[in-house]
Amino acid sequence: METILTVNNLTKKFGYLTAVKNLSFTIEKGNVYGILGPNGSGKSTTLGIILNVVNRTAGDFNWFDGTTSTHEALKKVGAIIERPNFYPYMTAIQNLKLVCKIKEVPDTKIQEKLELVGLWERRNSKFRTYSLGMKQRLAIASALLNDPEILILDEPTNGLDPQGIHQIREIIKKIAGKGTTILLASHLLDEVEKVCSHVVILRKGEKLYSGPVDGMLASHGFFELRTKDMEKLEALLEKNASFGKLTKENGMLTAFLKEEMNAEELNKMLFDQGMVLSHLVKRKESLEEQFLTLTKNK
């Protein structure tokens, strides 16, 4: 697989504060990555370093095969960070033409990208007249001008209203569908869960996990069960070696698996024991639950 970005032992200190500690990860072509972490966990600093705007204290990073300089590599990258920054007195078209000049690409794609984010009608309005959602969409259009190998998004839905969030997510999904590699930093877990296949989880500048979303916890999922005789059910499951922790909540028994077992197997087993279930669901932990477990453990 083609590597797009390699980060090795990256460290950044702001005075006494260590914002990023010994961080290493790689980004492969074609995947959608999420960088997860609470506010202040070093997500934006990490992105700042690989994007050439924050100086690293130690460690290094390589774009692509490591032979191009960072600023040359950035011409093949599309990135938006925190807030969209454009010249307020220039129109969308003028701003994008400037970006084309910087990225050294012809300005023939401007119309296509503006149409993709739905701003073609407002192309001749000055940037300062845009709403935050429109500014964010213009930033995405600008990041896509060079048909980048990788699109980096830092909190793209921050501060937007539900409609704006929805629009941005639709655009991201559309782009991901075209096979573009995406790196998405966010503290909104459901956002990452919806679009990402891989995650890097940070806390206080340290990496807690990096890998596929499914493999975050070595967990086999859990059952949610309900029946008439809850006591008997509990006693039965306690004796079964496949189950670990059992919790009762709102008349529902949640049984965590210690080894793989599918719902049919359990249903059949309980039925053979003379128990009929009124509710049976097998679930995996949501990203949020996994994230909380992970951050609590360390």
Binding site: G48, N52, N55, H71, L74, I81, V99, K101, I102
Partner: protein, 276 residues
């Protein structure tokens, strides 16, 4: 190089305020010609142009001196073109889009050089026309003598605008950067005063002063008026001997070029060291 200039041109020309300031600056340079129309109300009135200020080669000295005063006006454009990148945070976006920090500083510096060059050409053309109309001497050899004042004008502008660029990057806010510029000008004089008054002789103090950035730029083109024969005559009559050194010296060039290089380099270092 052309790409860097184009980038800067897009940024400047689409900004209405800079556009107006740039245009007014060049119009003001052309307005030097209006000095010709100034009339002193002595008797029937003496035209300033008749005092010989438009004689070749003196006109090169005079006009480059006058035009250099207008640089203060253009400093606003230079300072704000740098400081605005910070206040709009577009510098961050530029770097992320793939402009290197070196290219960023270079694009500003090249713009400064271009504007200085255009200003010099303007001064040359305006002076040439004025001179051809009013000068008492029109021999080619006289017309093209003393041309070093134009070179001094160019270097002076480049040096001064580089200082403005550095201040723009250093202070990050246009208004404060301009304030700092004025503060610095005052500081140079105060330093001169303190040195001459308490520490060294006035002579040494003025030598030290001539190494300071703004003073060295001012020294490139000395004030031209005491050079006029009319003024010299008056001075002689009241027993004052005005014997200044008006020439442009190579060491003055060196000092200014040194500051220019230092300011551009410091801008780059500052940009490189800072986290945005």
């Amino acid at each position: 190089m052309v790409r860097l200039l184009q980038i800067e041109f897009i940024k400047l020309w689409n900004n209405r305020a800079s556009k107006i300031l740039i245009l007014s600056y060049f119009i003001l340079i052309c307005c030097i010609a209006l000095i010709a129309a100034i009339k002193f109300p002595f008797g029937e009135g003496i035209l300033l142009a008749d005092l010989g200020i438009f004689n070749f080669p003196y006109i090169w000295h005079h006009n480059s001196f006058i035009a250099a005063i207008l640089k203060l006006f253009f400093a606003i454009v230079v300072v704000s073109m740098m400081a605005n990148e910070y206040s709009n945070k577009t510098i961050k976006q530029n770097l992320i889009d793939g402009l290197s920090k070196k290219e960023f500083v270079l694009s500003k510096f090249l713009t400064v050089i271009s504007f200085s060059l255009i200003s010099t050409v303007f001064v040359f053309v305006v002076s040439m026309i004025l001179g051809l109309i009013y000068s008492d001497y029109n021999e080619v050899s006289i017309i093209f003598s003393d041309m070093e004042f134009l070179l001094a004008f160019f270097i002076k502008l480049v040096g001064f605008f580089s200082f403005c660029l550095f201040l723009g990057i250093f202070v990050k806010r246009s208004a404060f950067a301009l304030g700092f510029l004025i503060l610095w000008a005052v500081f140079e004089q105060i330093l001169f005063g303190i040195l001459g008054w308490q520490i060294t002789s006035w002579e040494t103090a003025s030598k030290i002063k001539s190494f300071l950035p703004l003073e060295s730029m001012a020294n490139l083109i000395n004030e031209p008026y005491t050079r006029l024969s009319a003024v010299q005559n008056v001075a002689n009559q009241i027993g004052e001997n005005l014997n200044f050194d008006y020439a442009v010296h190579w060491h003055e060039f060196l000092i200014v070029l040194f500051w220019t290089a230092l300011f551009v380099y410091l801008s780059y270092v500052l940009l490189k060291k800072r986290d945005l």
